[in-house]
């Protein structure tokens, strides 16, 4: 049984780049991926800025190898998951017990909503190939089949914390000696369904979002996918490629306050962060950087900020929300941010929180505004909180020399 779970590979696609190197370059150069809607066909095209992956469905089909009829959610997933798999460089992959645990929130909804307009006019109309992959699990299967993963396939959906829970589940499958290697994370494509849904909640910013700013107005949606390759001690020992870090802690808690709003004292976020630290055997002062959930809504940033104040006072780690680059990618966000956090702790990188201007008065700390390299960065916490009170935190730690 593996006591330690290692991160051996990472893959990402988001509004700031189609792979890890491109995303890292954008983070270093403060280049946000947010802009006017170009690819999503919606009535709100000119109103809400979003962070789209800068590829049309046809271009994504070419990049992923899927046909253009396949959901954008699956295409994004395959691009990032394949990078995570390949970058781990596991030579005997096929002979190991492998798993693919992927999260998403709306499955093949991008195709379903195209189907629906015709279907509503007449229930015998609409192309069935547009709904055949509607279910969240179908998106995962399509990608698992391409990756050649058969031992264990599963899908998690807990709103915006989905892929953090997928990563936790993957790590536990390794610790419980059920699997040797798990590619875990999540994916979500932008859809009219989610854009309109968030619009009804009145939490979309019609300007570029400003997470953790006193004058924040809401969130920008984004899309993408992010996965890390988790391996057991035994697999890690046999790898020729360099490991990124360890997944040293995680915790899932529920805020149990409201279906969509977070509690004012950040109960769920506090418990998730505290639980992850406890599992890693760390004190709050050991944490060097927090990749915030930081959506940019009044409610989230208040709640998360309060939880951080309660847990970390008086020693605040550096922190930032990379959603100021990628937008809020929902079911993919914790996967994308796990990749950023793993790279952060591996290479000592602190990412900036773009467009930050004014500190929130009630909070005794402010996010980082510049990209910096920091020696002695040993532990990075990544937060993801979602509708339904689902709060999860992941803890990444530097490899012991």
């Amino acid at each position: 049984m593996s006591k330690t779970v290692f991160v051996a590979g990472a893959g990402v696609i988001s509004g700031i780049g189609n792979n890890t190197a491109e995303c890292l370059n954008a983070l270093q150069n403060s280049r946000a991926g947010i802009g006017k809607i170009k690819y999503l066909a919606t009535a709100h095209k000119d109103i809400f800025p979003v962070a789209e992956v800068k590829l049309s469905n046809d271009e994504l089909a070419k990049l992923s190898g899927f046909g253009p009829d396949i959901s954008r959610t699956a295409m994004l997933s395959l691009v990032a998951a394949r990078e995570a798999k390949n970058s781990a460089g596991i030579e005997n992959f096929a002979s190991l017990r492998t798993g693919f645990i992927s999260a998403n929130t709306v499955g093949g909804m991008d195709k379903t909503e195209d189907f629906f307009a015709q279907f509503m006019a007449r229930s015998t109309k609409g192309k069935l190939r547009n709904v055949v992959n509607h279910e969240c699990g179908k998106v995962t299967e399509l990608v698992a089949d391409e990756l050649g993963i058969r031992n264990y396939v599963s899908t998690v959906s807990t709103a915006c914390s989905s892929s953090a829970n997928a990563i936790m589940y993957g790590a536990r499958l390794i610790k419980n000696n059920i699997l040797d290697v798990v590619i875990a994370g999540g994916t979500d494509a932008l859809t009219r369904f989610t854009l309109n849904g968030f619009n009804t909640l009145m939490i979309l910013d019609n300007q570029y979002c400003q997470p953790f700013d006193a004058n924040r107005r809401g969130l920008n949606l984004g899309e993408g996918a992010g996965y890390i390759t988790l391996v057991s001690e035994r697999v890690a020992a046999g790898l020729k490629t360099e490991l990124l870090c360890t997944l040293s802690g995680y915790c899932n808690a529920n805020d149990a306050y409201h279906q969509t709003a977070s509690s004012p004292d950040g109960t769920g976020s506090f418990m998730a962060m505290e639980g992850a630290l406890k599992m890693g055997g760390l004190k709050p002062s050991d944490i060097g950087y927090i990749n915030l959930h930081g959506t940019g809504t009044q409610n989230n940033d208040n709640s998360e900020g309060t939880a951080i104040k309660r847990l970390f006072e008086p020693h605040y780690p550096k922190m930032s929300s990379t959603k100021s680059f990628t937008g809020h990618t929902l079911g993919a966000s914790a996967g994308i941010e796990a990749v950023f956090s793993a790279l952060s702790v591996q290479q000592g990188l602190i990412y900036p929180n773009l467009r930050f201007e004014t500190k929130i008065e009630e909070l005794p700390f402010a996010p980082e505004t510049n990209f910096t390299k920091q020696a002695g960065l040993n532990h990075v916490l990544s937060n993801s909180f979602g509708f339904g009170g689902n709060c999860s935190s992941l803890l990444f730690s530097k490899l012991q020399a």
Binding site: M120, L128, C136, N151, N390
Partner: protein, 347 residues
């Protein structure tokens, strides 16, 4: 792990204080809808008003299960659902199309997320503990069970609430019918396995279980193991997987008193069950369950309830009392993608 209590809303009389086995409810047609209880007795009427049908089914069966177990703050709440909250999804989608993305209201969007039922249960209980939702088609419930099993083994949890929930809506039934999933023409659920038409009958349900790491003295059954395998290449591989599953539990088919099989009445779908009845399951009593609840991706939750009730009531599957029901194996597959195995034993 031990099954301490259950709560099951299904197309049969399975909810509340009912005898087992109850008289089978018959359906004419290819759609079996749940028999729903009076929710006012279980959920605060102010909350019921906003809940869609599947949320009410899910929350009520979860609360009834907890009540039977005498637990008001489980260490974890885990749900499995392939489709999630279809009705709310359909409402929001329809209005979005009708109104050209304008003048929409948030309720159906909020309640369309797949984790709504797990979240609502946590909210009602003020339960801050572990909370997860699996949405993996025909193995959504099995993933939830495996998550529960790991939590209990890891020692962080002593009791876990696990449920499998899926609903049929008019929209989903219309679309899935176009895929040719269901039998056309007259079909009675009692004649499901004699009806030669292609397809099966649609079902739905919500079954919750309170699983404990320790025996309580009044458990329905012991849940020994759960496993799934993905897209097997041949019947021989299915056979091999079942043997490996049993052997990991240090038993063989000779130790299994009863198999509960997932035949759904579609000839192609049922080939593998027929093959097994002639081979691995040859000397074992095999019974079917989908004529009771219909076919749906989380029907194995109904099967687990059925198995647990059989073990508790010492029923041999033919309605006769038996002391010999030691181990029960559930074998089910959903559209030949996910195959699942669940092993239970008498306490």
């Amino acid at each position: 792990m031990y099954i301490r209590a259950t709560g099951n809303i299904s197309p049969q009389k399975t909810f509340g204080d009912v005898p087992f086995p109850a008289e089978t409810v018959t359906y004419e047609g290819n759609r079996l809808n749940c028999i729903t209880p009076d929710y006012k007795e279980i959920i605060d009427p102010k909350l019921i008003r906003r809940m869609s049908r599947v949320i009410k089914m899910g929350v009520a069966s979860a609360m009834a299960c907890l009540q039977e177990a005498g637990i008001d703050n489980p260490d974890a709440i885990i749900t499995g659902t392939a489709y999630g909250c279809l009705e709310d999804t359909g409402v929001f989608l329809s209005k979005m199309v009708e109104r050209g993305e304008e003048l929409l209201t948030p309720t159906s969007f909020i309640q369309s997320t797949h984790n709504t039922i797990g979240a609502q249960v946590a909210l009602l209980l003020h339960c801050n503990n572990y909370n997860n939702t699996f949405v993996n088609g025909g193995s959504s419930f099995e993933s939830s069970l495996l998550d529960a099993q790991m939590l209990l083994q890891e020692g962080d949890a002593k009791n876990v609430l696990v449920g499998g929930i899926d609903e049929i809506t008019d929209i989903s039934h219309a679309i899935l019918s176009r895929f040719g999933l269901y039998k056309q023409g007259p079909v009675s659920n009692l004649e499901l396995y004699n009806n030669k038409a292609k397809g099966t009958i649609a079902g739905e349900g919500s079954a919750f279980f309170l699983l404990g790491s320790q025996a309580s003295g009044s458990d329905l059954a012991k849940l020994d193991a759960v496993s799934t395998f993905y897209k097997p290449g041949s019947f021989a591989e299915v056979e091999q997987q079942i043997e490996a599953f049993l052997s990991a539990q240090n038993i063989s088919m000779y130790d299994v008193s009863l198999v509960i099989a997932g035949n759904n009445g579609d000839a192609k779908n049922d080939e593998v069950y027929n093959y097994l009845e002639g081979s691995l399951f040859n000397y074992c009593n095999v019974i079917k369950y989908k004529y009771l609840c219909g076919e749906y991706p989380t029907s194995s939750a109904f099967a687990l309830w059925y198995a647990a009730q059989m073990i508790r009531s010492k029923n041999n599957g033919a309605g006769e009392h038996t002391e010999k029901l030691k181990k029960v194996l559930i074998y089910n597959h959903y559209q030949n993608t996910y195959h699942s195995l669940i092993l239970l034993s008498a306490c």
